[in-house]
Symmetry: C2
Subunit: 187 residues, 2 copies
DNA sequence: GTGTCAATTCCGACCGGTCGGTATGCCAGT
DNA sequence: ACTGGCATACCGACCGGTCGGAATTGACAC
């Protein structure tokens, strides 16, 4: 309970003010505990960042695997992936904002762990696009790398412009993006 | 001369270690001067960030205006804009990385100034897409907002994956992206 | 060419304050 | 009696920024 509250407050503060600009004292004050409690559950401030990233990536990878496991055609699969990204991003917008901004703040070991997870996500998406292109189901105006970066780029930038109370819901944006991407992939 | 050297070193260090994690002392040490010199040219550490952003945005806006002034058809104009973005991003990759990461580190006044410049860039691109969509020259699978974010997203994420010594030059990536985007906009 | 003086450019010691992290111990539950 | 779950008090390091003054430069008179 305390552990979760500390993490939740850390996400909010890191998203609002940045990792370095947020002091451990601010985190524990907002969580209603003291530094003793924080350092009881976490060995270092960096572990807060790591946990935030790790749980986000774990969640996204689980969704991705579930989508791929359904074995639908490439267009449907890609649309589902884009939807899944938009959903997790809109639900965890602060964590995604922290993730895209403070990516290199971790030490080498922790960073490599997360990088491997993120790589798996990338490679899966690219594999789907590449296979479909080679099968002639998708057009190949652009490489899987550039296409995937266009998709990921929209998502990482979402926290800067997406407003949950705005006119468009996350899933609508996702479908717009999917329509556009799939139009660009139509043979 | 000294001023420029300080700025150049600041960009490198901010890109490598982040704004907050970089001390003024590190900047001046790398530049081969002392803190007195830095605070002779800049009123505060924040001004280093502001100058980095401002010169980058000024450059990009000038290129954008030049492209629009040529008055070519929407597809050509959009391709030129994408090329221009990829070029400036690859040439100033560290500055772009800092820009996308430390965007909210400035105080309100300086931030508003830059935000207005960036808004002008966004609105110009969106206007081109919207006008062409309304004229039936571009398809409207997605809104100008989502399409422009796809374009900008690729650029802001470029510093994380683009390697100048890699197999693809920046202009090739730009053309790939332009081909893909224009395919998605074909009526 | 040379001396003069003022402005510009820069030095580096120093300051108040904050930071991440630690040492110690209280206390409720078992 | 012992342990997990915290609070409190504190530390050394370091930070952004200041300040008095030392060099360096440039304009101008002679």
């Amino acid at each position: 309970m305390v552990r979760e509250r500390i993490l939740a407050c850390a996400v909010e503060l890191f998203a609002a003010n940045g990792y370095d600009a947020t002091s451990v004292q601010q985190v524990v004050t907002r969580a209603g505990v003291t530094k003793g409690a924080l350092y009881h559950y976490f060995a270092a401030k960096e572990d807060l960042l790591f946990e935030i990233y790790h749980s986000l990536l774990t969640d996204q990878l689980a969704r991705l695997d579930a989508i791929v496991a359904r074995g639908a055609d490439p267009a449907t699969t890609l649309r589902e992936i884009i939807r899944s990204l938009a959903e997790t991003t809109s639900e965890n917008s602060r964590a995604v904002a922290v993730f895209s901004r403070e990516a290199s703040r971790l030490d080498e070991e922790r960073w490599q762990t997360l990088r491997a997870e993120w790589r798996r996500y990338q490679d899966t998406v690219r594999g789907i696009i590449r296979d479909a292109q080679e099968a002639g189901v998708f057009a190949a105006y652009a490489s899987p790398e550039v296409i995937s970066w266009a998709i990921f780029g929209v998502n990482t930038s979402m926290p800067t412009w997406f407003r949950p109370d705005g006119p468009k819901k996350a899933v609508e944006i996702a479908d717009e993006l999917a329509d556009f991407v799939l139009a660009g992939l139509r043979p």
